[in-house]
């Protein structure tokens, strides 16, 4: 269970995350455009950046957490402990209980065979696949996945999707691609804009809603972007969320 209460993250005095309160006890999607604070929020939960407020993972404050192996993430920073893919697998099997054999099988399924490759030499898509596979192959209870489909081709995306559904009981999956969100219709989703989090709302409902400018009293959700309010409303005429494809397009509406 992840509990965030009034969480703020500052970079040099600028608030990247502004007073976020969330309660996560299943797998949820965090959707937001580029630069909205999705990765920063995951970094805070992953203990990588300092935060104000409270973030509790299974009841323990993250800043004082020690040795809790049931949470895994694919955030790139976490993988700099080893130089080659083989090094990372070896170290993670030692300190995170990674199932090395399963990880190698999964890597082969997505075409990554040479474990002597340096982690930084992987393409963006391969890197996302490698990190996501390592995170999932530790069989975590909680997963924090940041853009697991980034630059991954269609066939491999299907595999990753099935693994994300299979591994981890709860956690946060971050993406800015709404097309992929449609594969998680039954999950709750949160939206993040300019460091503020809105939700939860079912992914299916969100995608079938239309986006209108202004505050609609029947809205599933009202968000604020660049000082303007937008409502996500069901059963009305307008631009459907599912057709927007990426949330960055909200800025041009």
């Amino acid at each position: 269970m992840i509990d965030l209460v009034n969480v703020e993250v500052n970079y040099r005095g600028i608030k990247a995350i502004k007073g976020v309160t969330m309660h996560v006890e299943s797998k949820v999607l965090l959707l937001g455009p580029n630069g909205s604070g999705k990765t920063t929020l995951l970094r805070a939960v992953a203990g990588i950046v300092p935060y104000l407020g409270s973030i509790r993972v299974d009841g323990t404050e993250v800043r004082s957490l020690k040795g809790y192996s049931s949470l895994s993430t694919n955030l790139p920073e976490v993988f700099s402990v080893g130089l080659t893919l083989g090094d990372v697998l070896s170290i993670f099997s030692d300190i995170k209980g990674l199932d090395g054999r399963r990880a190698v099988e999964m890597l082969r399924e997505v075409g990554i065979r040479d474990l002597r490759q340096k982690t930084y030499s992987l393409s963006t898509g391969q890197s996302a696949l490698f990190r996501t596979i390592v995170a999932l192959a530790t069989d975590p209870k909680i997963v924090l996945l940041d853009e697991p489909f980034e630059n991954v081709d269609v066939a491999k995306r299907r595999k990753v999707l099935s693994w994300i559904k299979e591994y981890g009981k709860e956690g946060i999956v971050v993406t800015h691609e709404l097309e992929l969100a449609s594969s998680f219709q039954e999950l709750d989703s949160y939206l993040i804009f300019e460091g503020k989090v809105y939700g939860p709302v079912k992914v299916g409902e969100l995608l079938s809603s239309v986006v209108t400018e202004g505050r609609d009293p029947e809205a599933l959700l009202v968000v604020e972007v660049e000082g303007k309010e937008f409502s996500f409303v069901k059963g009305k005429e307008g631009k459907r969320m599912a057709d927007i494809i990426t949330l960055d397009r909200l800025y041009s509406m």
């Binding site: 970079y11 040099r12 600028i14 990247a16 630069g35 920063t40 970094r43 992953a46 203990g47 990588i48 950046v49 300092p50 993250v62 957490l65 020690k66 040795g67 809790y68 192996s69 949470l71 895994s72 993430t73 955030l75 920073e77 976490v78 993988f79 700099s80 402990v81 080893g82 130089l83 090094d87 070896s90 170290i91 993670f92 099997s93 030692d94 300190i95 995170k96």
Partner: protein, 268 residues
């Protein structure tokens, strides 16, 4: 834990380390043995001191280069540490001891190579046998050097990560820069009692003493009057004090480590 073995394996197989800490120092030693040695008076004591000082210089240069690679490695790894200390079995103490253990393996391997190198090159050049006289002291020096440089590298890596990512390359080069500054200061300046204060001179002078089999002078530049011999006990004690100081600071920095993202810093 596989981590110390990983550190040792990565350090020993790093091409930059092999070049700077082994090949480059070997080339310098060749010059010392076959070119610069022509000016050494044919007096056994002078030759022994000359060879021993080359051993000390080789050790400090080799370690300075090698542990620059370690500082780079630690600086690269620090990004993952705040997460792993919370969400894995790895603790700051285990990480530090892993780095120390891997580094001690490296310092012993490099030190042993330098022993053979200096023995082989200088014995061949002077046509006489120069064997290290105090091997236990030599290996104690290798061991303490490994511990000092590893904790110092962690200190530098954590410091650059915490305060200035932009200067991280400079921070990681500090062992190399200091090794050359202090290595040559001992040879070309009269450091006197300063050899007891700075840890790099401690390493260098202890290495010289171990090869010489007696107290090394506190400076080589002044021959007359002869400089007093440096106390091995004081040098060892000073090095241990430095190790304790740097270890404590590194442990504190590691426990308070957080990512200081360069990218976001530029964005805002």
């Amino acid at each position: 834990m596989k981590f110390p073995l990983y550190v040792a394996k990565r350090l020993i197989t790093t091409p930059y380390l092999l070049f700077w800490a082994v090949i480059f120092v070997t080339l310098i030693d060749v010059m010392g043995a076959f070119l610069e040695s022509r000016e050494v008076p044919h007096i056994p004591e002078a030759e022994e001191l000359y060879v021993s000082s080359w051993f000390g210089t080789s050790i400090i240069m080799s370690y300075g280069s090698a542990f620059t690679s370690l500082a780079f490695m630690v600086s690269y790894q620090t990004g993952s540490l705040p997460h792993l200390f919370r969400y894995s079995k790895m603790t700051p103490s285990q990480y530090l001891s892993g780095v120390v253990l891997g580094s001690v393996i490296l310092s012993v391997v490099l030190g042993t190579y330098m022993l053979f190198l200096v023995y082989a090159l200088f014995s061949s050049s002077f046509n006489t046998t120069f064997l290290p006289k105090d091997l236990p002291l030599a290996y104690l020096t290798f061991l303490l050097s490994g511990v000092f440089f590893s904790t110092f590298s962690v200190f530098l890596g954590a410091l650059s990560y915490k305060y200035s990512r932009k200067l991280s390359n400079f921070f990681t080069l500090i062992p190399f820069i200091l090794a050359f500054i202090f290595g040559f200061s001992y040879l070309f300046a009269n450091l006197g009692n300063l050899v007891y204060i700075n840890p790099l001179s401690d390493v260098q002078v202890l290495a010289i003493s171990s090869f010489l089999g007696g107290q090394a002078p506190t400076g080589l530049i002044v021959i007359s009057p002869p400089q007093p011999g440096a106390s091995d006990i004081l040098l060892t004690g000073s090095l241990i004090v430095w190790i304790v100081i740097v270890t404590v600071i590194s442990s504190i920095l590691l426990r308070r480590l957080y990512l200081n993202p360069v990218e976001e810093g530029k964005l805002f």
